[in-house]
């Protein structure tokens, strides 16, 4: 037993050593930590598309899928840092504390944490996408296409990211159709096809004829297809799952950022950053517009997309009022990033209360 342990210990040391030497001698190796399976067709799937772009750019990559946000995350991170990876992307909010903790122990490894706000060490960067810009497009389409003036919205958790999306969506819809109401159902999950489908059904039963979602599965667009109402794809282009229902999708496009950051590590130019990119930088992509949409709406959307990209239009331009009619953003002003990052109040026109 003793001999066996020593032998395996030595062999693993040799293995780790060769891997490290190989990594240094060859080139930069990137690792990705995923919350879900790579086949979810949503959040993790899109990160993995980004990883493949890094591979295509000529770098070696490793990934670990289905890593719970429990005590296990820290071990996976340490193992990746220990086995010759130069940059590690941690792609879920719950990895924030483990990422910073392990980063402290491995000052030579770069860490990139998605959707978090803690950068406690110089080798930790954070990145996120301005998905709310995409939701401005969706709101514009929904406000135009609805006949019942009731728009359904399946939300995940009451955090600023989600509230911001609901608000951006509603504001855009009101702009083209002042009579619309946004009804929210909280699914309290990021990925649960059963629950998401039920939530969509509840909204359709309440008269919603366009459904938007801030959860990751394809269940909602499939439910919309069955019920004959419109819907939007989330994270990836979901058109193939519900060709009649899906008008367009907001795609998370991480590839360019990932390639950029890995190259920076290879060139020695990597430095700590807090990135929040939108349509303009290509991190948020609008899929093809469905031909069921009238031609003038399609051209309007194209123009809006270009204006959001150039910064001519901002999703949160005043006057914006909250549900009680208090002024949130004054006329002619736009909400700053600080306000967006902590947004926890609904705008006027959203029905119901934020669960507390």
């Amino acid at each position: 037993m003793h001999k066996f342990l020593i032998r395996s210990f030595v062999s693993s040391l040799v293995l780790i050593f060769t891997l490290t030497v190989a990594a240094v001698a060859k080139d930069v190796k990137a690792a990705f930590v995923y919350i879900g399976p790579t086949g979810d067709h949503g959040w993790t799937y899109q990160h993995d598309v980004g990883r493949k772009a890094v591979e295509a750019a000529g770098f070696k990559t490793t990934y670990v899928e289905g890593v719970p946000e429990s005590a296990d995350a820290e071990r996976v991170l340490r193992q990746l840092a220990n086995s010759g990876h130069d940059v590690i992307f941690t792609t879920s909010f719950g990895y924030m504390n483990p990422t910073n903790k392990v980063a402290k122990e491995f000052p030579n490894v770069k860490f990139e944490h998605a959707t978090g706000y803690k950068r406690e060490h110089p080798n930790v960067s954070t990145y996120a996408a301005r998905f709310y810009e995409g939701r401005t497009i969706l709101g514009t389409i929904a406000g135009t296409m609805t006949k019942s003036n009731v728009i359904g919205y399946v939300a995940s958790f009451p955090i600023p990211e989600v509230i911001r999306g609901i608000n951006s969506f509603t504001l855009a819809a009101q702009k083209v159709n002042p009579n619309i109401k946004t009804k929210i159902v909280w699914a309290f999950t990021w990925y649960d096809p059963g629950k998401e489908a039920e939530a969509a059904k509840a909204l359709i039963d309440q008269g919603a004829d366009v459904i938007a979602q801030h959860t990751d599965s394809t269940a909602i667009v499939q439910m919309a297809e069955k019920a004959g109402v419109y819907a939007f794809g989330q994270a990836s282009d979901m058109d193939k799952f519900a060709p009649k229902a899906v008008l367009t999708s907001v795609e998370n496009n991480w590839g360019p950022y990932y390639v950029d950051r890995v190259k920076a590590v290879a060139n020695g130019t990597w430095s700590q950053k807090d990135t929040w990119h939108g349509i303009g930088d290509g991190m948020v992509v609008i899929s093809d517009l469905d031909s069921q949409m009238p031609a003038d709406l399609r051209s309007k959307v194209k123009k809006l997309q270009a204006d959001l990209a150039s910064g001519k239009v901002h999703s949160f331009t005043g006057p914006i009022y909250d549900q009680k009619g208090n002024l949130m953003v004054a006329e002619g002003k736009t909400a700053d990033d600080g306000m967006l990052a902590g947004m926890m109040t609904y705008v006027k026109g959203v029905e119901g209360d934020i669960p507390k």
Binding site: L5, S8, F9, S11, S12, L13, L15, L19, A31, P37, T62, Y63, V64, E65, G66, V67, P68, E69, S70, A71, D72, E74, R75, V76, R78, Q79, L80, S83, F93, G94, N97, Y117, F157, P158, I159, P160, F188, A341, G342, M344, P355, K356
Partner: protein, 354 residues
Amino acid sequence: MIKIVKRDQPSRAIFFFTPVLAIFLTLVAGGLIFFILGFKPFEALKFFFIVPIADKYGFSELLLKATPLCLIAIGLSFCFKSNNWNIGAEGQLTFGAIVSGGVALLFYEQEGFYILPIVILAGAIGGMLYASIPAILKTYFNTNEILVSLMLVYVSKLILDYLVVGPWSNPEGFNFPETRQFSDSAKLPLLFEGLRIHAGIFLALAAVVISWFVFYKTYLGFQMKVSGFSLKTAKYAGYKGKKMIILVFLISGACAGLAGVGEITGPIGQLHREISPDYGFTAIIVAFLGRLHPVGIIFASLVVAITYLGAETAQIFMQIPKYTGQVFQGMILFFLLASDYLLFFKIKFIGLKK
């Protein structure tokens, strides 16, 4: 010729041999699966079962992972031995963590030696309270404890969700679903610098010793054993069934609650939505693989813990999907249940010439 003969009574040697057989068969079947998937079977098994624990750090992680599994499984063995099917250890773990986490948050930014014992005690009480629900419903209303304890798992997770999203969320945390970090006095001390293994392992070891003593040296242990074999006999012997049901559920709940405390005041250091990768369910496999015997459970918790670590290593070094870890856990249980056939039947090879 092969003949299958029923044994007069279950073989004691086979009873302790089948877990080993199950693990062996799992390795063979696992190797076969790796081969079919196009990986080198021996290399894959090496990355799965040897590489992750080949250094000091890896071994400490194994102990860290096995600690909650062992603790919960010991608690469950009290229930299972006496024919009480507590499937909701995950819920008791979660509720224990909620209560102890709540207490830890009360002591936010306070230091003192008295804090940790209170936090630990709160977790045990939380787990006991939660386990008492299926126990009381079973004893007084004759409900099915399997269903009640299982359903309560989901209730506890929703309560935790509500708390970390709402009233207990970190005021400086931009409304993300997590609480503040606990103060150092509310955390279990680490045993070695640079490793995550913490004092919670002593709780698990204490549970092992106490359970051994209760099972084999006390009248209560004897009563549990008799009830496990036959409820009618237990009744005939005049044992107080109701009292025992509640007692074993409370013990089981306390152990699960303590496992929750170990996670949140150990490696995690706060409450958030995902504090356990279903330890409460995996511990059921551990309890049976360990034959509900305290020493067996120690070994079983180590074996099952390594399937978690191995799955990560195998994905990092060989790109084997991480979910194979769960396949291994499932196979161990499957082969164990299947080989239990040998407990009651023996296979006889009868020579044709004789």
